[in-house]
């Protein structure tokens, strides 16, 4: 049974269903309660579940993220919402030094089943301090799983296995996706290890994740008009990366362009490119291309923000370059 819902409502429904199914699940974060969530994901939840389980926090990112981690250690299943990825930097100590580290540092005695949801990305003219894509910072850290659901279906379905995971899971939700409406089948399941092939093609692999997926799919449609068959891979699990799906696709198409809203230097695109070199170099017919954000703090005016981010025309140009067309 599928229904048409927004990404925002899909995330909200996933949280509600999880809280209904398991008393240990609760959500905490800035403005999740009375305000109804910065992106309205948790709207109305405090009325239905009460303020203990829809827990407003002070503006103390390190404190409340650490408290969520501690509550997970104490047997709860917390969902910590961090309003934006830039604020998450204030909680990075807890995420890196506690959540990601305790299992190993304790010789496997302890585990931290916390889920941390973070909104990410640019496109709303929020300027340099509210427009980052720092997913790769988190994807760098052993001990974390990092997800970037781009579809309504994944936004709903990835939360359950994330909550069932005995270890910390960070979920990035791109701010430009909350308003998208797509079909949702609540019964369909997803694992936390597989990339998804969103479009089949034979000439080139366009590899992306999160908010760049729809730009990439649009570029693929336009390339088709020029007779170029592009395969689109949605990484959706940023750690651990699904090398097999990436290499299988590149083995078939022999060309790849990676589309990543992060800054180019030290980007996730760089990591994927390196893995293609390591695992698929001999099947390549062209250098791996990258379409990333320009190396600049994201500017406020619309035309400059657009110029800084990956866009459909740049993806098309990069694909054509790889194809020598």
């Amino acid at each position: 049974m599928s229904e048409q819902v927004t990404y925002r409502d899909a995330v909200g429904a996933a949280i509600r269903d999880a809280m209904t199914a398991d008393d240990r699940v609760f959500i905490m974060g800035e403005d999740v309660g009375r305000y109804g969530g910065t992106y309205a994901v948790t709207k109305g939840m405090i009325e239905d579940f009460g303020e203990d389980r829809v827990r407003d926090t002070p503006l103390s990112e390190s404190g409340f993220t650490g408290a969520g981690i501690g509550a997970a250690l104490g047997g709860m299943k917390p969902i910590v919402e961090i309003m934006t990825v830039n604020f998450s930097l204030l909680a990075l100590d807890q995420i890196l030094n506690t959540a990601a580290t305790f299992r190993h540092m304790s010789g496997g005695q302890l585990n931290i089943p916390v889920v941390i949801r973070i909104s990410t990305g640019a496109g709303r003219q929020l300027a340099a301090q509210h427009s980052h894509s720092l997913e790769n910072w988190y994807a760098h850290i052993p001990g974390l799983k990092v997800l970037a659901p781009a579809t309504v279906q994944d936004a709903y379905a990835m939360l359950r296995p994330a909550l069932e995971d005995p270890d910390p899971v960070v979920i990035f939700e791109h701010v430009m996706l909350y308003g998208r409406t797509e079909a949702l089948d609540k019964e369909a399941t997803v694992d936390l290890s597989s990339a998804a092939v969103r479009r089949n093609g034979s000439d080139i692999s366009l590899i992306t994740y999160g908010g760049s997926l729809y730009k990439t799919l649009e570029a693929a449609e336009k390339l088709a008009e020029d007779g170029i068959s592009a395969e689109v891979i949605d990484l959706r699990v940023l750690r651990p990366l699904d090398d097999a799906t990436i290499l299988k696709s590149v083995g078939k198409t022999r060309r790849a362009v990676i589309v990543d809203e992060g800054w180019k230097t030290g980007s996730l695109a760089a990591e994927v490119s390196a893995r293609i070199m390591e695992g698929g170099f001999w099947s390549l017919d062209a250098p791996v291309g990258r379409v990333c954000s320009a190396e600049v703090p994201i500017p406020y005016p619309k035309h400059l923000e657009d110029a800084a981010l990956p866009q459909v025309d740049r993806i098309i140009a990069a694909a054509k370059l790889a194809l020598g067309r």
Binding site: S62, G63, G66, G70, L73, H104, S106, D165
Partner: protein, 330 residues
Amino acid sequence: MSAKDKDLRPHLTRDHCLDLMRNMLRIRRFEEKAAELYTQEKIRGFLHLYIGEEAVATGVMQTLTPEDAIVATYREHGHALVRGVPMTGVMAEMYGKSGGVSKGRGGSMHIFSAEHRFYGGNAIVGGGLPLAVGLALADKMQNRPNVTVCFFGEGAAAEGEFHESLNLAALWQLPVLFVCENNLYAMGTALARSESETDIHAKAASYKITSEAVDGMNVVDVEAAARRAVAAVRDGKGPYFLECRTYRFRAHSMFDPQLYRSKDEVTEWEEKGPIRRFSDWVTKSGLLHADDIEAIEADIAKEVEDAVAFAEASPWEEVETLLEDVGAAS
């Protein structure tokens, strides 16, 4: 003093005095051995000794049940030992051996024991406070009558996590006992060089947390204060803050040349050291005899010797296990 307050005083029976003495001496002798082993390069990395501060962990820990949780710092050997984590496992951990409590993965700064609800062993100053708040939140949400005790140094009071955590614990009325081990120096920076308000327990009071300062060199005073504090926390009265004023006799770590304090200052504090003071008092008052203390010393010498033998005999983890325990085995 009400009848209830009287119940909260430590009962200084002979057995209890033996127990306090044993706990403090176990820490002291264990760490003296650890320092020696460090010079022999058996223990590497950072080694932070608790010598001089034994009364704090010993006094506070008397008041806890096995279900209570403990969060400590990188200076936590003493806390682990008093909590009942076996000395063998702690010593082997410091060797980095397979028989260590954390299979050698953590070392001196990261002693953990899930069985004892002993949650480290945290080398990020202030990093344990949010964790303690969360453990207490879990207990409160699951209606368990447990207390989480969070030990940290006065240096942590300069961290944002200290203030965030105190606020959260007070706001949500969580069962946390914050124990500040104020040894006057954050590594080599004296309190007055880093804090505009040097009265640490006053900071807690500003978050509406019941707060008191206690002589951290007197194990009986610490225990008495901790009994009051734990009773209040367990009674659902929200968090409590104890500032234990103490002193570290040894260097911050084995790399520290101690340029920031005088030998006279250290000597002065050593004269009011917790073991010396308690030992004088219990013998003068006739509660214990010199023979009792000698017997304890003999037991501990044997225990330390056994712990070293255990650590020496314990194998190293196989290199093939390097990537284990990063995530759940799939």
